[in-house]
């Protein structure tokens, strides 16, 4: 990762491999246009310099044909490049269903990473090779941006919401990780290393972290601590929706719309309960904005996600 002069970044994911082709395509197009324009400019400048004897008779008169021709040609070329890039971008927005979720919280000036098993790391991310990973990004203060050039991906971590980013590493190794959105004094130092490991090594690494509880278990404790269970628990007398079987399903809202119960929905339900009220329930849930930190929030969300596989009790 250090040393020698490099012209191109490492290619360490399947997507990065596809990006290399796109880059090559863009370079080829540019070189073609550059050669054409610069070539013509140089030829004209030499041939038609003042005082040269070159023939200037019979100049182009009707210009609109030429104009239409080169306008159309550029347009078609540009649309091709557009479609190519758009196609890859769509891929970036469609994480595979079996991806492992890893939570990443940005704060001035560090990245806090929490694995589903409860393992935590700071300014480092360990992932197994060949397995899709989905990062759920949030921020505790300002906007940060989680960038891994070797994977050719990045995503802003915006306070107040969850953003996601996914990749499948293909090469074992250490790669740089940066904060790419200016976030204050130590913005340039807010980075670290992404370590891609063989699955066996990765498992060993997870075990060595010696985490006692998984994220969801920690979340379950917080769920009681913040009094959520008082309303949402099975023994509750309050008319509140059960959270079992919620995650990943459509939720009918009081407004008549339907929302998808994803990370963002659950997060918003906790911080801004009035924004999207579940149909059939009174809007009595208090907002927890300002009371639950990002770290705790992602644990609670992990807990509610873990309930997603359970049967929805009839209440």
């Amino acid at each position: 990762m250090e040393g020698k002069v490099s012209f191109l970044p490492a290619t360490a994911s399947a997507y990065a491999g596809e990006m290399n082709w796109l880059f090559a395509g863009l370079i080829a197009t540019s070189v073609f246009i550059l050669l054409l324009v610069f070539g013509l400019m140089i030829v004209f400048c030499v041939r038609y310099r003042k005082g040269s004897g070159a023939d200037r008779g019979d100049r182009m008169k009707k210009t609109w044909r030429v104009e239409v021709a080169w306008t159309a040609a550029t347009f078609v070329l540009f649309m091709g490049l557009y479609a190519w890039g758009a196609n890859l971008y769509i891929e970036l927005h469609r994480p595979p269903l079996d991806a492992t979720d890893i939570h990443v919280v940005g704060k001035q000036w560090m990245w806090k990473v929490e694995h589903p098993g409860g393992q935590k790391e700071i300014d480092a991310l360990h992932v197994p090779v060949g397995r899709p990973v989905r990062l759920v990004l949030s921020s505790e203060d300002v906007i940060h941006d989680f960038a891994i050039p070797a994977f050719r991906i990045r995503q802003d971590a915006v306070p107040g919401r969850y953003e996601t980013l996914w990749f499948t590493p293909t090469e074992v190794g250490d790669y740089r990780l940066f904060c790419a959105e200016f976030c204050g004094t130590d913005h340039a130092r807010m980075g670290g290393t992404v370590t891609v490991m063989e699955p066996g090594d990765f498992q060993r690494w997870l075990d060595e972290q010696g985490s006692t509880e998984s994220l969801a278990q920690e979340g379950a404790a917080l769920f009681r601590q913040f009094g959520c269970s008082g309303c949402h628990g099975a023994a509750s007398t309050v008319h509140a929706p059960p959270l079992e079987g919620l995650f990943g399903r459509p939720v009918p809202l009081a407004s008549g719309e339907t929302a998808m119960a994803d990370d963002r929905y659950i997060r918003d339900s906790i911080l801004m309960p009035r924004a999207q009220v579940a149909a059939g329930y009174p809007p009595i849930m208090p907002s927890f904005a300002g009371q639950i930190g990002e770290d705790e929030l992602l644990k609670i969300v992990a807990y509610i996600k873990s309930l997603g596989t359970k049967e929805r009790p009839a209440r």
Partner: protein
């Protein structure tokens, strides 16, 4: 030649001691500070923005100095203030006013055969607002600086920055009014004050480009003003607008900011297109190829430019569909820019090309703008931008447009019209040396930044991983050449003010009404209102002035 263009009585430069705009109102400071003459106001602007160019340039020098070694030479907070200052000063106090307020102010009335702009007093007010804004900006800088970057992203700027944010916002806010007044003045003047016979399609492209620019200035700047005011409100009164902790939305700020700042990119480049479209035909001794296409591509750019803003936000958390639409529109707006490059190139075909300094700058402009434009196709590309946004690739891309393009055009125009403005010729060889130094210095400074960005060096980094050093060192080396290139004109142009040869009314044998009056022009530009009977750029290979 039988190419009589104007029926108005031609001015004879040799005739008696007629007072020029430089002397007619006297030499006192008062006569300058209270002038309503567009030409004098243009000079006031030129002096002001030159000052800011060197302030912004000094910051750039320190930035490149800091980046020579990976750990950086300054404290991160100092560095963050430097690039913020560089950005704010260069964008709002040099690039945006650059060509419109100097050459635009000076030339538009001359080119349309008018005595002045439509509202001379507003024109002076606009300069005073600019000065007030500039002073506010300088106070913010010297009181301790701002560390938000020129983009003022929230919630950093509203809640976390500890710089003089509100003062800087106020500076930009006030400068916006100066922009609006200038834009308004241009639009009204071009509509109302054209000389008899000067139909829209006989208008020089320089006027068209400034007209398109003025439209953007008038339509987009108010959005910036409101946005910055909201940032100040949130920062001072803690009203939740952009900060999610207060119930605001940080992306709302980005949408509003780029809704101004993308069109602002065209404020910074369209006038440059205008300058190049004047210079190329003159030194190729040929009419501009595809005049109407060049004109309408400027208008198209000004229009479509309002609908591409979210291409700055592909990784900021906008939806997939928003990304798809904004990328598509960004590719579409690249078409009219390409058309211009093709037309300038075609203008060279079968011309009688000479290579005086303005032409060297113009050719440099075309080259650098083409590279800037082509790399624009990279960053407009959704997937590519995910990798490249907020890296040095983007930094290099927009410097190719703004500095390689706009600043080259500014210098090209300055040399081209220098004889008209001052009545003196500049020393040709020095000017050519400067043009060539700037071209090579520029490429050495910014080309390595493309490589750096693609490798993964992020923007606004006070320190960086050691593997990026070699490219940073090359870039800094280029910057020192560039600095010499930019400083040179200060000396030889300054020298020419006293020692330069007298220029005469039309040293380039150029067409266009501005060349039909003495250099420097009299206070009211023309003794007799000229009449126009032909399209612009009716050049013939003959080196004699053709329009007598």
């Amino acid at each position: 030649m039988t190419t009589a263009t104007f029926t108005g009585k031609a001015e004879q430069p040799t005739r008696g001691a007629q007072a020029s705009y430089l002397t007619a109102e006297g030499f006192t400071l008062r006569s300058w500070l209270l002038t309503k003459d567009h030409k004098r106001i243009a000079i006031l602007y030129t002096i002001s923005i030159t000052l800011f160019f060197f302030v912004g340039g000094a910051a750039a020098t320190l930035i490149r100095f800091n980046l020579v070694t990976p750990p950086g030479l300054f404290q991160p907070d100092t560095y963050n203030r430097l690039f913020t200052m560089h950005g704010i000063v260069m964008v709002w106090f040099f690039l945006i006013p650059s060509i419109p307020t100097t050459m635009g102010n000076f030339l538009i009335p001359l080119m349309i055969g008018a005595k002045d702009l439509a509202f001379p007093r507003l024109n002076l007010l606009s300069w005073y607002l600019f000065v007030i804004a500039g002073v506010l900006g300088l106070v913010a800088i010297f009181a301790g600086g701002v560390d938000t970057g020129w983009t003022f992203y929230t919630p950093f700027s509203t809640m976390y920055s500890n710089g003089y944010v509100v003062l800087a916002l106020a500076a930009v806010f006030v400068s916006g009014f100066s922009s609006i007044l200038t834009g308004l003045n241009f639009i009204v003047s071009i509509h109302r004050l054209r000389a008899p016979g000067l139909t829209w399609y006989r208008l020089p492209v320089f006027c068209w480009s400034n007209y398109a620019t003025a439209l953007i200035l008038v339509l987009a700047t108010p959005i910036l003003a409101i946005t910055l005011a909201l940032v100040a409100v949130e920062r001072l009164l803690k009203v939740g607008i952009f900060d999610p902790a207060l119930g605001g939305d940080p992306l709302l700020f980005q949408h509003l900011f780029w809704f101004y700042s993308h069109p602002a990119v065209y404020i910074m480049i369209l006038p440059g297109f205008g300058v190049i479209s004047e210079i190329v035909p003159c030194f190729a001794r040929k009419p501009l190829f595809g005049y109407k296409f060049v004109v309408w591509s400027s208008i198209a750019i000004a229009g479509i430019g309002f609908f591409v803003w979210a291409h700055h936000m592909f990784v900021a958390g906008i939806s997939l569909y928003a990304g798809l639409v904004f990328s598509l529109l960004s590719y579409i707006i690249a078409v009219p820019s390409a058309i211009k490059v093709f037309n300038w190139t075609a203008t060279l075909h079968k011309g009688w090309i000479s290579f005086d300094a303005p032409m060297l700058y113009a050719l440099g402009f075309i080259g650098l703008f083409t590279i800037g434009g082509l790399t624009g196709l990279f960053v407009a590309n959704l997937a590519f931008d995910v990798h490249a946004t907020d890296t040095y690739f983007v930094v290099a891309h927009f410097h190719y447009i703004m500095v390689g393009g706009m600043v080259s055009a500014y210098f090209g125009g300055l040399h081209y019209w220098w004889p008209k403005i001052t009545g003196r010729l500049y020393p040709e060889w020095w000017a050519r040396i400067a043009a060539i130094l700037i071209f090579f210095g520029f490429n050495l400074t910014f080309f390595p930044q493309f490589i750096l960005g693609y490798l993964g060096m992020q923007r606004r980094y006070a320190s960086y991983p050691p593997e990026f050093q070699i490219w940073n060192v090359l870039s800094s080396a280029g910057a020192s050449i560039l600095a010499v290139g930019y400083a040179l004109p200060l000396f030889y142009l300054g020298w020419s003010l006293w020692r330069g040869k007298k220029a005469g009314p039309n040293p380039w044998a150029a067409t266009g009404l501005e060349w039909r009056t003495p250099s420097p022009p009299p206070p009211h530009n023309f003794d007799v209102t000229p009449t126009v009977t032909r399209p612009p750029y009716q050049y013939r290979p003959d080196p004699e002035p053709q329009d007598v």
